[in-house]
Amino acid sequence: MSDKIYRVNMKELNYRIEDVPEEWMGLGGRGLTSTVIAAEVDPECHPLGPNNKMVFAPGLLSGTIAANSGRNSLGIKSPLTGGIKESNVGGTIAGIMAKLGVKALIIEDIPEDDSTFYHIHVTKEHVTIEPCPELVGKENFEVLDAMLERYDKKVAVMTIGTPGEQRMMISNISVKDPKGKLRSHGRGATGAVMGSKKIKVITVDAEKYKETHLADPEKFKSANKVFTKALQENPISGEGLPAFGTNVLVNIINEAGGLPARNFRYGNSENAEAICGETMADNIKARGGSTTHGCHAGCVIQCSQTYNDEEGNYLASGFEYEMIWAFGANFGISDLDLIAKIDNLMDNIGVDAIETGVTFGVAAEGGLLEFEDGETVYKILSEDIPQGTPLGKIIGSGAGNVGKILGVVRVPVVKNQSIPAYEPRAIKGQGITYVTTPMGADHTAGYAVATNILNSGGYIDPLKKEGQVELSRNLQIASAAIDSTGMCIFVAFPALDDPACLPALIDMINARFGINLTGEDVTSLGARILKTEHAFNLKAGLTAADDRIPEFMKYEPLPPHNVVWDFTNEEIDAFWDF
């Protein structure tokens, strides 16, 4: 049974199931999505027009028993950045597509009749594309319920809420997780592209096909044992993340003076203790909830959680550091429960937590609302954005656009995408990742925080320039490769410090496909992906002048260390010398 490419055309409202071209055979996840986008999408196309495509691809190991292999990649030309985008998600979709033999699901063009939205359902033999007027205007959880009523409860679901329907720049695509909650193809306005193609929901059959083919099952099993052990014995992936979640970072980043606060004015937040992972874990213990929850089947890290209010009622799950930082430290809300309510609301309507949170910070800076005013945030997200009021449309346009509308100078974006929860002035290696990654400001593209702050993979002083470009380059190459395997990016923690981890991962890829990749092959794959993405961006009209930090960071010293961004253009551009 060989994998196939499933190609859906939204203008013709038909589909083809194609053989996988030779040159795409060894690719999966980000490697495949970026290769297809670069090969088939005109870099100069309008991202919301007929010539953009969506490419969904599970990782090379997705659908197998390999621990933490359930990540799915989506490739588009991003309407937010104007460049290539790979957005990576957990949930059940990757494993289910892989078991069905869907190497990639490619969606092309837009319908001529734009009066309704469509529901795409993928089975092994067929793809159905049918209008779904009854779902238009509904938010994600209601769409999810409708799909669970119609199909087997394990069906994979990818959906957009009203922000995606309205093609907003903060919109994302929500993906069902094993517990029926939602994860997101979060960044880069993925929801707007799905909305432009008039697709409300995509479902994939999970009933009939339950296994992937392994070329060497024995070798696979023993490599997975070594790999799983590496994940479980690493203090970060084995202990810290399950106990405190990703939100454990609030305190350490705050102590290091790199936690962006009040729209990137300060490197410390007075709210840190109120919103930190330790406080969250205490609340979970006291209120009943769970500190451990996997975003995809086969996850042994379980960094996610279920967070309840004081009465023990469910508030949020997948309550992550980036979101809590954006609304707690950067916008200034000190009430963790209110932040949780906002988190669940954002899951429901389908907006990117980072882009939305940073947008509110810029909006507060520009006087549209007050910092700390979480009630107004909640109202805008629950009323103005779904209804598409002028205020909703403005907030929905993202931080870069809101900055322009309000005449704000302090606009923390790179390639028009909001900077996440690590201050580039105080964590300079991470800043190099923000400016150089083809994705726009993205923390997962090359997580230099590991080596700048967390003492993972050694230590490079976060306040100094030395070694940062090389660090970021090596991490970005490795991340591009990991993003192709279907592995969660947190496997990077054991991979950085445990020599048994990466070879076991490569052994699994080899045992899955009956091939003989070496560590060097994997590195060169990562480098090739990065260069493919960079070349696409250059053809799309992005230049070295887009690989830059917002100017205010060059002249506003960031407390407490009073540091500025001090890389020269030449130092940044040397990133691409490989």
């Binding site: 203090p235 993340l241 405190f244 939100n247 970072l249 102590e255 550091y321 702050i453 003492n455 990016i489």
Partner: protein, 80 residues
């Protein structure tokens, strides 16, 4: 105590359990971070030290604390 200095010690993640979040503490002059770690009794055998910061800057266990320092002690943590 003429030889005494006062510092703020902050503990994080698993180190807080049964200990404290942040406290002013008095030590003899010349105490290293290693000495502080031993004195606090945090469970470094179960959760080895991941990061030591003095006033928000990374240091190692041999650093000799000075009056007024903030000493932050973390087990290995990560996220993203």
């Amino acid at each position: 105590m003429e030889n005494a200095i006062e510092v703020t010690v902050k503990l994080f993640a698993q180190y807080r359990e049964g200990h404290f979040k942040a406290e002013p503490r008095v030590y003899p002059k010349g105490t290293t971070v290693e000495g502080v770690i031993i004195e606090t009794g945090i469970p470094v055998e179960q959760f080895p030290i991941g990061v030591i910061m003095i006033n928000g800057r990374h240091m190692d266990e041999s650093y000799v604390i000075e009056h007024g320092d903030t000493v932050s002690l973390f087990p290995k943590v990560g996220g993203g």
